[in-house]
Point group: C2
Chain length 145, copies 2
Amino acid sequence: MKVLDICDPEFATVKPESSVAEAIQRMNDLHVGAVAVVDSEKRVAGIFTERDVLKKVALSGRAPATIKIDEVMTTPVEMATRETTLGEALEVMVEQHFRHLPVADDNGRLLGMLSIRHVLQAHCDDLSHELDALESYASNDGPGG
Amino acid sequence: MKVLDICDPEFATVKPESSVAEAIQRMNDLHVGAVAVVDSEKRVAGIFTERDVLKKVALSGRAPATIKIDEVMTTPVEMATRETTLGEALEVMVEQHFRHLPVADDNGRLLGMLSIRHVLQAHCDDLSHELDALESYASNDGPGG
């Protein structure tokens, strides 16, 4: 299984000059917890998440419509590629406490967005399948069986 | 493994009369995505999450310090008990799109807070251990081996 197979089917993007209010609206519309900030060439410039809303915006006393996203986004962004395995993505996310990881091509153009929840679910599914296969092997066709 | 074993070691609580600003501050201080709203008897009255911040607060134009938490919390709350299994908790959370599930005693008093990330990680760990055990069984001591 490749990381692109388990990316959210819909992912949210905004431009660097978008407002925080627009970013929050995109997240709410698509029921996601992060937006990728992409330039006019679709290259990833940063990421902005619901955690950023709580840490940088909600208690700032500033109206989200008046804050530009490139003031508060996280940049540079750690990213996955088409070749990144599920295990590698999971390791980066767990170690660095990322909930989201953009997937980009060799030119840094956004291909999709991974969420740790989907990575963990896919990892559990993989393990379940292996377990099923091995259980049926052990019970029916094991060594000497 | 019991659900209480994988609850966040620290969980955030606020009172029904607390402000949304206080709730957000608690979440930020403890690096968690939800607070349980508990009454003076520690009974769970509701839950308030970072998703609620984005959906109900961030674009409302209201200052978080002026909003009482019991206006915007989710109530009643689905809860787990000491007896709930990991699999049961995971099923509820996946089916109902909950990221958090409070664990309460028979009187509705809060014992801990489950997050779907920790439930999924524990579930993966369980599967990995089963797989390791079965692999070593199949390779060394399989039927007839």
